[in-house]
C-alpha cells in the first residue's frame, strides 16, 4: 500500500489460499465469478496478485479478470476493514443529523467516506437507506444496528469494536 518509505511492515500476501481455492475449480471461464466470490470471502478483497493468479489459472488475460472484477459492485479491489460502518443518509436520518454522525466518524477514524483505516479495522460507507428510519439517525457496524445516535455516542460505539 505504501508508495513511500514508512514504518509499517508490508505483509507478504499469502497466495497459497487462492491456489487452494483454484484447485477446486475446472479451468473454465464460467468459474471466474464463483472463484472471485470465494477468493474475496477469504481475503476480504481482491488483491492484484490474486487476480493475476486467477487469470493464469483460467488461461485468460488479466484485463479480462480485471474487467469482470470492476463490473460487479460486490467485488472490491482495495482492502476493506474488518468492520464495515454503513452510515445511513436516507431522508429520515438526514433530517435528524446524519451528516454530523458521519463527520464525527470521519474525525474519530481519520478517514473519509469510502475510506478504510490503516490498521484495516474500519471502513466507512455512506448508504442510501437501510430501512430503519424509526431509529434515525442510524448506522450499521457489520450486522449490528446502532440508532438514535448523537455525535457524542460515536467514540463509545467505536470502542466496542476496537481491540
Amino acid at each position: 500500500m505504501c508508495s513511500q518509505q514508512c514504518d509499517c511492515v508490508e505483509e507478504e500476501l499469502d497466495l497459497t489460499l487462492v491456489k487452494e481455492i483454484l484447485e477446486g475449480y475446472e479451468k473454465k471461464q464460467k468459474n471466474l465469478i464463483p472463484i472471485l466470490q470465494e477468493t474475496q470471502a477469504e481475503y476480504g478483497y481482491l488483491p492484484q496478485e490474486v487476480l493475476k493468479e486467477v487469470a493464469d489459472y483460467l488461461g485468460i488475460s488479466f484485463s479480462q479478470v480485471y474487467g469482470v472484477a470492476t463490473f460487479y459492485s460486490q467485488f472490491y479491489l482495495e482492502p476493506r476493514g474488518e468492520y464495515i460502518i454503513r452510515v445511513c443518509m436516507g431522508t429520515a436520518c438526514h433530517v435528524r443529523g446524519a451528516a454530523k454522525i458521519l463527520d464525527e466518524l470521519e474525525g474519530e477514524l481519520g478517514i473519509e467516506d469510502g475510506g478504510t483505516t490503516d490498521d484495516l479495522l474500519f471502513t466507512i460507507e455512506s448508504v442510501a437507506c437501510i430501512g430503519a428510519c424509526g431509529l434515525a439517525p442510524v448506522i450499521m457496524v457489520n450486522d449490528d444496528t446502532h440508532g438514535r445516535l448523537t455525535p457524542e455516542d460515536v467514540p463509545e460505539i467505536l470502542a466496542q469494536y476496537g481491540e
Partner: protein, 525 residues
C-alpha cells in the same frame, strides 16, 4: 374450544387475504419449504410425473400455449411461444435458465416464491427442460438472497436423492441437472443476454437481439430463459389443465399475478390476484388504504421500467396490455404506493439515478442519455429548472427509449415520461413557482424563522440545528440565518415556546403579522 375459534380469524376473514387468489403462492407459508415430502404431499412433482410418462414435448408446449401464460418477469411474452422457438431450434445441446435476479427496488415476489416454495420452481424448470429438449439448467439468483440460495441448494439435493433430478427421471430416459449461479451485484444482469454473459463468467453486458437466445444463447447454444414466477405456474397448468388456468384472468392475460405491495399503505406484503383486478381493489381492499388517512397520490408499478399512475387510473383492470397503454408496465410486479407527501419529480429522479448508475455503459443512448436526463431532474428538484427543460426531457426520453440496446435503456425513461404525463403540474410548480407540492425537495422548502416576541433564548434550537445556522446566546433572542437554512425542521419540535415557524405560514396568520412587517421594512430599507 369454541371461544378460540371465535377469536382467531381464518385467513379468509382477513381483508389482506379475502380477495387474493393464491395460485403460485398457494404453498408459501403452508408447507415447510425445506421438506421435499411436504411439497410432494401437496401434489408436488405430480405434473412432472404426468409430463414424463404421458406427454410428448410438443404436447407440453401446446398445453402451455393453450393456457395463455405470459412471462411474469415483466415483458409478458407468451411462454409457450418462447418454448416453441427453443424447441424448434436445431442443436443437440440446449439450456433452460431461471431468471431469479430480482433487482427492482420495491420488489420481492420472486424472493417469496424462492424462499417459500423452491420445489415448485425446480419442477417448472425440469418440465421446461423436457419440453424444449434441454438436459441442463441454471438458476441465476442475486447474491443478496442468501436464504433463497440455501433453500434452492437444499431442494436440488433432495430432488437428486429422490431421483427427480439426474439420470433417467421416472424411468423415462430423460436426464436433467440443475446448477445455481449467484450474481455479484449488477442490475443489468436481469436482462437475458446480460444474464447469460454473466453465467459464462463475463461482464454482464447485453448483446443485440437477434440472434435471440432461443437460437444462440448460453455458450451459443439454444437457450430459454423464464422468470421465477413463470416457472412456478407451470406445474399448476400441467396438473390442473390449461383450460382451468385460462378461466382465471382476462382474455389476453390469463392466470394470476403476484404483486409486492409497499409504500404508504396500511398492509404491506405479497398479494396474488387474478389478472384484471383493479388497482383500487389491490390498494384499498387488500392494502387497506393509505396510512394515517392521507390522500392517495400515485402508485408506482413495475420498478425502474414502469411508471407512476394517478388517481384516475385506479379503476383500470390490471393486465399486461392495459398497463402499457397507460404508460406503465407490469414489470416484475412491484407496487409502491405514494401519498400526498410524495414528490413525483423526486420519484422520477430517484429511479433515473438508479438506472443511471446501473447502466452498463455499452450503448451511448443509455449511458449518456440517462445521465443528461438525471442532470436536468437534479436541477429541477434543486429549484434551478428552466421552462424548456420539460421539452428537452421529453426529447431525450424518446431517444433513449428508441435507441437503447437492451430493455434497461428502452424502459429507463418510463418513470419520467409517466410522471410528465400525469403530474406535469408538479414539474411546473418546481420550475415556475419554486415550490415542491409534496414538500420533499429540500431546496424548495420554505425555511424557518424565529418569532422574536416569543423567543426566551434557551438555546435548544441552536443545539438541534444539524447545520449550525441558528445564531444567539443564552437568554438572548436567537435568529435563524434564512439564507443558509435548509428547512430540515429539526429545530421546530425542540422549541419549548413554539417560537419557530415555517416562513410560508406568517402571511396566513394574523398573530405573525409583526414578522411580516419586519420583512417588508427590511425590503424598503
Amino acid at each position: 374450544m369454541a371461544t378460540n375459534e371465535e377469536n382467531i380469524p381464518s385467513y379468509q376473514d382477513l381483508d389482506f387475504y379475502k380477495s387474493q387468489r393464491r395460485l403460485a403462492l398457494a404453498n408459501c407459508g403452508f408447507i415447510d419449504p425445506e421438506s421435499i415430502e411436504d411439497y410432494i404431499a401437496s401434489d408436488g412433482y405430480q405434473a412432472l410425473s404426468k409430463v414424463l410418462t404421458e406427454m410428448k414435448p410438443q404436447e407440453v408446449i401446446d398445453e402451455v400455449k393453450e393456457s395463455g401464460l405470459r412471462g411474469r418477469g415483466g415483458g409478458g411474452f407468451p411462454t409457450g411461444m418462447k418454448w416453441q422457438f427453443a424447441y424448434d431450434a436445431s442443436g443437440d445441446k440446449k439450456y433452460i435458465i431461471c431468471n431469479a435476479d430480482e433487482g427492482d427496488p420495491g420488489a420481492f415476489m420472486d424472493r417469496g416464491l424462492l424462499e417459500g416454495d423452491p420445489h415448485s420452481i425446480l419442477e417448472g424448470m425440469i418440465i421446461g427442460g423436457y419440453a424444449i429438449g434441454a438436459d441442463e439448467g441454471y438458476i441465476y439468483i442475486r447474491a443478496e438472497y442468501p436464504l433463497a440460495i440455501k433453500r434452492l441448494e437444499k431442494a436440488i439435493t433432495a430432488a437428486e436423492e429422490k431421483g427427480l433430478l439426474g439420470e433417467d427421471i421416472f424411468g423415462s430416459g430423460f436426464n436433467f441437472k440443475l446448477q445455481i449461479k449467484a450474481g455479484a451485484g449488477a442490475f443489468v444482469c436481469g436482462e437475458e443476454t446480460g444474464l447469460m454473459a454473466s453465467i459464462e463468467g463475463e461482464r454482464g453486458m447485453p448483446t443485440p437481439r437477434p440472434p435471440f437466445p432461443a437460437n444462440k444463447g448460453l455458450w451459443d447454444k439454444p437457450s430459454n430463459i423464464n422468470n421465477v414466477e413463470t416457472f412456478a405456474n407451470i406445474p399448476i397448468i400441467i396438473r390442473e389443465g390449461a383450460a382451468s388456468f385460462k378461466e382465471l384472468g382476462t382474455e389476453d392475460s390469463s392466470g394470476t399475478k403476484v404483486f409486492a405491495l409497499t409504500g404508504m399503505i396500511e398492509n404491506t406484503g405479497l398479494a396474488e390476484v387474478e389478472m384484471g383486478t383493479t388497482m383500487r381493489e389491490i390498494i384499498f381492499g387488500i392494502g387497506g388504504g393509505i396510512q394515517d388517512d392521507k390522500e392517495f397520490k400515485a402508485v408506482q408499478i413495475g420498478g425502474p421500467s414502469g411508471g407512476c399512475l394517478p388517481d384516475e387510473k385506479l379503476d383500470l383492470p390490471i393486465d399486461y396490455d392495459s398497463l402499457i397503454e397507460a404508460g406503465a408496465m407490469m414489470g416484475s410486479g412491484g407496487l409502491v404506493v405514494m401519498d400526498e407527501n410524495s414528490c413525483m419529480v423526486d420519484v422520477a429522479r430517484f429511479f433515473l439515478n438508479f438506472v443511471q448508475s446501473e447502466s452498463c455503459g455499452k450503448c451511448t443512448p443509455c449511458r449518456e442519455g440517462t445521465r443528461r436526463m438525471l442532470e436536468i431532474l437534479n436541477r429541477i428538484t434543486q429549484g434551478e429548472g428552466e421552462e424548456e427543460d420539460l421539452e428537452l426531457l421529453r426529447t431525450l426520453a424518446e431517444s433513449v427509449k428508441k435507441l437503447s440496446l437492451c430493455g434497461l435503456g428502452k424502459t429507463a425513461p418510463n418513470p419520467v415520461l409517466s410522471t410528465l404525463r400525469y403530474f406535469e403540474d408538479e414539474y411546473e410548480a418546481h420550475i415556475k413557482n419554486d415550490e415542491c407540492p409534496g414538500g420533499v425537495c429540500q431546496n424548495l422548502l420554505p425555511g424557518y424563522i424565529i418569532d422574536y416576541e416569543k423567543c426566551i433564548g434557551c438555546t435548544y434550537c441552536i443545539d438541534a440545528c444539524p447545520i449550525d445556522v441558528v445564531d444567539g446566546r443564552l437568554e438572548e433572542i436567537h435568529e435563524i440565518n434564512e439564507e443558509d437554512c435548509n428547512a430540515c425542521g429539526a429545530c421546530e419540535p425542540e422549541c419549548p415556546v413554539d417560537a419557530i415557524i415555517q416562513k410560508n405560514y406568517i402571511e396566513h396568520f394574523p398573530q405573525y403579522r409583526h414578522l411580516l412587517e419586519e420583512d417588508e421594512e427590511e425590503v424598503e430599507a
